[in-house]
Structure formats: C-alpha cells, structure tokens
C-alpha cells in the first residue's frame, strides 16, 4: 500500500496579486478617478495600469481593443466643443466619450480581476476578512455567472434571428413588448435551470455544511502587492501636485 499523494494547488508563477490587493486597488482607482478626472494625464495613467495587467495576463486582444477605444475617446474629447452637432450624433459622441473615459479604467481593472481571480482564491481572501458567508456566496455566484449569462443571451439572439425577432425589424416595431418577452423569458427559463443545477453542485460539495470549511487556495501578499501599493502612493502624490 503506497500512500496517496495529497492534492496540492499549483505553485503561483509570474505576476500574481492577492485578491485583497485587487479589491482595495479597485476601490482606490475608483475613488481617485472621482477626484482627478479633469486631469487627462492621470486618467490615462490609471487606464494604462489595467492595460498592462491584461497584457501580462495574456489577454492581448481585449487589452488592445480597450486601449484603442480609450485613445479614441481622448481624441474626441479634444474635438468636443468645436462643433455643435445635431442631437443624435452628439448623443453618440457623448456616449463614447463619457463611457470610455469615465468607465474604462475601472472596467478594464474589473475585467482583469474577474478573469484572473479564481473563485476559491476570492473566497479564501474573504474569509480572512471575516465577510459573512451570506455575502461571499452571492458575490462568488455573480462573479462566475455573468459570462454564463452572456453565452445564453447570444444563443437566444441567434435563435431569434431565424424568426426575424431582433432590434429594428418590421416585426419589432409592430410590437416592442413582445420583443422583450421573446428575449427575456427564454433567458429566465435557462437561468432557473442553471440556478438549480448550481445549487445542487454546491450542496454536493458541502457548501450547506454548518462546519467551517477549509480552503487550500494559496493566497498571501507578495512583492507585487507592495509594488501596487507603491504605485498607488505615487498616483496620490501626483494628483496632489
């Protein structure tokens, strides 16, 4: 009888941040953006950080799409008050500028956090912070559920295309409420099902157990976290100048 090997989680390699660092940094970036967003230089710096994160995380395509849009947004910001456009075109422009400049730094960071954090790591970090389970579980579900929602939604879109039910066709204008129904109801149906399956899977893994669960995810602060801290302090100093 040989002894069994105990499962060991993978050793972390390369650039790695503790989930707590990510969350604190996210709150920090948001707060800072609120105070300094007239200063395009700092906003760009704030956008550059998640851009680098995404590159390091090997999501180059996403990074370049976001980065490109951000640069476009900055361009249009300079062209903004030079011409008075008709309302619709103005609306499009406004949407672009506002969304991109206001939200992209945080969006990119959020995307990176969601992509790079394993749920188990997140839960482990939250346990250290003594966040009650009744919050951790829903948040972990939200984390993982949004991609599923996207998949389901696009599948429904494809199915509805066959029946000419999409935004802007003749059928749509005849009855916009029906459009809503045809889109939302199938989504709800599949979501109810997925939810039940998710609960079953979670219960199977002993999530309903009143005992304290152990967790083998490796988390902890490293030099990279210190680096992020230093960058944050630098950004604050820069914005106070």
């Amino acid at each position: 009888m040989g002894s069994y090997l105990i499962y060991q989680p993978e050793k972390r390699k390369g650039f790695w941040l503790d989930p707590r660092t990510k969350i604190i940094f996210m709150a920090f970036v948001t707060t800072l953006l609120f105070f300094v967003h007239e200063n395009i230089a700092i906003v760009s710096a704030l956008a550059a950080i998640p851009f680098l994160f995404l590159i390091i995380n090997e999501q180059k395509k996403t990074a370049f799409i976001y980065g490109g849009l951000f640069v476009l947004g900055i361009f249009s910001l300079y062209l903004k008050n030079t011409v008075a456009l008709p309302q619709i075109i103005n609306a499009v422009f406004v949407l672009l500028i506002a969304l991109v400049l206001r939200l992209f730094p945080t969006f990119m960071l959020g995307y990176y956090i969601i992509e790079s954090t394993k749920v188990s790591e997140f839960v482990a970090a939250m346990e250290i912070w003594h966040i009650p389970q009744s919050f951790v579980i829903p948040i972990a579900v939200v984390f993982r559920f949004v991609p599923t929602l996207k998949e389901e939604s696009s599948a429904i879109t494809n199915a509805m295309h066959m029946r000419e039910i999409q935004f802007g066709t003749k059928k749509f204008w005849r009855n916009p409420a029906a459009f809503l129904e045809y889109r939302v109801i199938p989504l709800m149906m599949s979501i109810v099902k997925i939810g039940d399956e998710l609960s079953a899977a979670a219960l199977t893994r002993g999530l309903g157990n009143p005992e304290k669960r152990s967790n083998i995810a490796v988390i902890g602060f490293t030099g990279y976290d210190a680096l992020i801290g230093a960058v944050s302090i630098g950004l604050v100093a820069w914005s106070l100048l």
Partner: protein, 195 residues
Amino acid sequence: MENTGRLKVKDLINVGIYTAIYLVIFFVVGMLNAIPVFYPLLYVIWPIVCGIPFMLFLTKTQKFGMLSIMSVILGVFWFLTGYTWIPILSYLVCGLIADFVLKSGDFKSFKKSVIGYWIFSCGMIGLQAPMWFMADRYMADVRAYMGDQYAQQLAYYMPQWMGFASIAIIFVGSLLGALLGRKMLKKHFERAGIA
C-alpha cells in the same frame, strides 16, 4: 418552500444569480443615458424590464434578507464603478425596508410585492443623487466630459425636484413591471411548472 428561518445555500445562490441578471439589464438599459431626455424615462424603463426577473426571484426565494443582501452587493458594485458612496447607502436602506414590507406580506401578497419592489427600485435614485447633492460639482464634471450641449439638456430635464418626482415615477414603473412580471409568470413559468 419554507419562508421562515435563515437563508440557505440555495437561496444565497439564487440571490447571486438574480443580482447578476439585475446588473446586466441595468447596464444594457443604462446605455440610454447618452440622450438626456431619457434620464427621467429611465425610472420607468428600468423597473419595467427588471420586473420579470424580480417577480421570478420572489417565487424562488421567500426569506427575509434576500433583498438586503442583493442591495449591498449592488451598492458595492456601483461604488466600484464610480458612482460614489451614495448608492451603497440608498440601496441598503431601500433594500432593508423592502425586505420588511415583503416579510409583512409573508412574501405572498401581490400588493406588498409591488410596494416592496417599488421601495427596492428607489435605491437607484442614489445613482443620480450626486446630481442634486453636489449639483455644481457634478454639473461641472458633466460639462467637462460630455460637452456643453449635453450639460444644458441634462440640467433642463433633471431639475432638483426630479429627485422627489422620481419616487412617483418609479412607482409607476414598478407597478407596470410587477404586473408584467406576474403576467409573464402566469403565461410561461407556471405553465412550464417552474414558478
């Protein structure tokens, strides 16, 4: 379905799922913000569209605390996307009150559901609240970001009294949303044996 006692894992997972749906719908509809005239209208559109998932949520989970937890998550999420700390406060207060209202109706009465949904939806006023609390500063931001044209229209469509009017507007939206949700539940889900 027991509606007493504490939230179990199944309920917590449901809370997570419906929070996710709520957020996604919020974002998709929120894109309309680009056109100032839509600002007040959003208060109607949001509750209507979110009515279906909300009513379904009510059939799935019937325990005190469901909306409070959802509110806190939503509030924190809005904080992280740059809406300041006000949404956390408004959502938390509204979620708690809505929970009490639903509890008093034992999660069964439709009337109480509508009122609960209305109060819960009022949390979204917190998203636009900075517009009135810190009016000058907010408008300066909007001007800097969105251009003069947009800022003028926004000020025109969203005067100070809109903050109070929005409560009434949200009620209309919530009522319609709840009715729509109930109708859809009857039409689709009960027939399929889901709700």
